[in-house]
Symmetry: C2
């Protein structure tokens, strides 16, 4: 599991590293004079800075797109210079990759969270989808959904595809389970997973422009629509619930 972006990064902000003289770990190092302690502190400091770099990159990519963002831009945002950025990451490509990981890990965590639950699959699915929506609306959301294979090395591209596939199959699995336990209507699980993920992924495209709702709120609204469906639910009983209506389209 690469890179522990997540809880730690949620609390730091970009200018952590601008106030460099104020070495935060130093006092503690003095009180516990073990060199290992000091070394560990320094290492933590470095890790925090590295994460700040990645998050700053995510924000810039989000604003201007990957190709329209230069490493000088990212450095300027942190009030440092480009070589310093390269001190923490090996390439621009890796930056994008890490941003992707930062987003996708949130979604994987959502799956793990519902894994042992006894609730009906539809309820578990909804919980996952809500976290999914939050992840897409996060700093890393844009990178996660828009990271293009062509921008990454074959190895990274493969890694990302595997993670995406894992998430996709996780959703399908929940849908299958839901059909089994009766909490989800029989349907094409693959297509349903595509539709759900697509709708949620697309949040990243318009969330910047309109942040009046939180990611969770949007996801909840979507879930309600997905659950209920557009067709009115008739009060009268009906034998075959999902008869394909032959629309007279075009």
């Amino acid at each position: 599991m690469p890179a522990g972006l997540g809880c730690a990064m949620a609390i730091i902000n970009a200018n952590t590293m601008t106030t460099r003289p104020r070495k935060p770990g130093r006092g503690r190092t003095r009180s516990t004079p073990s060199p290992w302690q000091a070394s560990r502190e320094r290492h933590r400091d470095r890790e925090l800075k590295r994460e700040a770099v990645i998050r700053a990159a995510a924000r810039e990519f989000n604003r201007k797109g990957y190709h329209n963002t230069s490493l000088d831009d990212i450095a300027a945002r942190l009030q440092i210079t480009k070589p310093t950025v390269y001190y923490y990451v090996t390439s621009k490509e890796q930056l994008l990759f890490q941003c992707f990981i930062g987003g996708v890990e949130q979604i994987r965590a959502a799956f793990r969270a519902v894994e042992g639950r006894r609730a009906p699959a539809r309820v578990r699915l909804n919980a996952v989808l809500r976290h999914y929506g939050e992840a897409v609306a996060s700093d890393f959301g844009w990178c996660m959904v828009r990271a293009e294979d062509q921008d990454l090395s074959p190895a990274m591209s493969r890694h990302i595809k595997a993670l995406k596939s894992e998430i996709d199959h996780g959703i399908r699995q929940l849908i299958h389970e839901g059909i089994q336990d009766g909490s989800i209507a029989p349907c094409d699980a693959k297509m349903a997973a595509f539709a759900l993920a697509g709708a949620l992924n697309w949040i990243a495209h318009w969330y910047r422009e309109n942040q009046s709702l939180t990611g969770a709120q949007i996801a909840s609204a979507f879930v309600a629509i997905f659950e209920g469906g557009l067709a009115p639910r008739p009060a009268r009983r009906r034998a075959k619930p999902r008869a394909a209506r032959g629309t007279s389209g075009a």
Copy 2:
């Protein structure tokens, strides 16, 4: 209405322009010696080539992404050189813009097609969505959904945003009408439109990898899912069809 990409372009292929000596309009020009006729033919020829350039660009953008595609690539694909491309378009940016227009016009046509219909709004909406899906799965689909504002001049960006907004409001309008005429269950039209468009837009992201289904087939599957909803349709009657279920999500 800019650029009539569409039916005309559907029948030409890229190497139209490689067989240049075989001037197709010449014979007709001889039989009708009006200079206007000849001029018109030449103009048409030019327009065809221009559309071939745009379509070739769309295909390359689709394959490698906008920023990873050079104009030399596009030219090479047509077995011509870069200055020739510039003879037909003014800039790379304009190429992307035209590709976008090529896709979005298909969707606008779908709206016009159902405009006068008497059918229930849900039926009309479904027809539009099916065409929407086809457009997204077309050559221009990728450009249409992924054309980033940051890659275009402010003027073009504004134009594109206006067109996108028009489509969005068209969908919302159909949903509203559906709620009015009872063919669509009461819901948040804005959110529903976002969800529908998002799911369909996302087709562009995985359609290249897996073209086992046509765009229309995918759109139909999606429409079925959206209509029916994930929750099973109970045989027993129910008073409030869209009660917000308070999920015990995380």
